[in-house]
């Protein structure tokens, strides 16, 4: 994640390629980290289809939808931010990144509402396998969102200090790739948990 330091007398373009290789390798590890949970999901869903069906109806679908839209939009603002940074439009870029952070916080806010609702209905991790999976999956994803927010804030600070230019915006791009990945995971979690159970 923070592997943005490069060296060895490379050109900025080479350094960017190195950093990109680093982040994609990191994302590969993330795929397998979530992979464990997806495997659990598939195993138990095949074993207990009815349980998954009845339990998934207890989730708040509209909020899930809202959150999906929020996260997709944050991916858009991130992509726009990077494009702006590459053009040297610093104001626009920082605005986009701030917006991304805002949307990410919004996502967490909605999650907070959802989880409190679940708790108040007596639904906890451990209530049954579906809800265990639900909490573990959204929880792990949530941790990634928090990590993403931290990385974005760091990038924002650097951007404000004028550290980036059209030639050098490696940290922004790296954080962007991570952020899109977080979005990608949600793209699967949303239908799996909310829609088809």
């Amino acid at each position: 994640m923070s592997g943005t330091e490069s060296h060895g007398g490379e050109t900025p373009a080479q350094a960017l390629a190195t950093a990109k290789l680093g982040i994609w390798t990191f994302l590969a590890t993330e795929v397998l980290l979530f992979g464990g949970l997806f495997t659990c999901y598939i195993v138990f869903r095949l074993k207990y289809p009815e349980l998954f069906y009845t339990e998934h109806l207890k989730l708040n679908r509209p909020l899930g939808l809202v959150n999906t839209v929020v996260l997709i939009t944050s991916s858009l603002t991130m992509a726009l931010g990077i494009a702006a940074m590459k053009q040297g439009l610093r104001r626009r870029a920082t605005a986009c990144i701030s917006l991304t952070i805002l949307l990410a916080c919004g996502f967490l806010g909605v999650k907070y509402v959802e989880w409190s609702e679940d708790f108040s209905h007596g639904l906890y991790p451990g209530t049954n396998l579906f809800f265990s999976l639900y909490f573990m999956m959204t929880g792990l994803h949530g941790i990634h969102v928090v990590a993403g927010i931290c990385a974005l804030c760091w990038v924002l600070v650097l951007a404000r200090r004028g550290r980036f230019s059209p030639e050098y915006s490696t940290p922004v791009e790296i954080t962007g790739l991570y952020w899109h990945f977080v979005d990608l995971v949600w793209i699967y979690l949303f239908p799996l948990l909310y829609l088809v159970g």
Binding site: K20, L21, W24, T25, L27, A28, T29, V31, L32, G35, G36, F38, T39, I42, V43, L46, K47, R61, L65, T68, V69, I72, T73, S75, L76, M78, A79, L80, A83, K86, Q87, G176, L177, H180, F181, D183, L184, I187, Y188, F190, P191, L192, Y194, L195, V196
Partner: protein
Amino acid sequence: MLNTSSTKAYRTYILVWLALLVLTVVTWLVSYVHLGMLNVTVAMLIASMKALLVALFFMHLRYENRLLWAFAIIPLGFLTLIIGGTLADVLLRD
């Protein structure tokens, strides 16, 4: 990589975003139609289309070299390995 004609880049991003929104709504609507096992298939197909859009455009995979493609695809292969191996046991246990 994205070059100087970046108004075009902005346009691409926004189009992708719109497509993602549309797909989200579609998958949402389809989930109310009862198709049995097909529901999962459709939902996963749509999710994978969305994922592809994000990876190709937002994550620039479209503009990257073969090495990066390999780095993106190989982990998915290993993901199928762990799922497949586990299912070979779980589904066939007597």
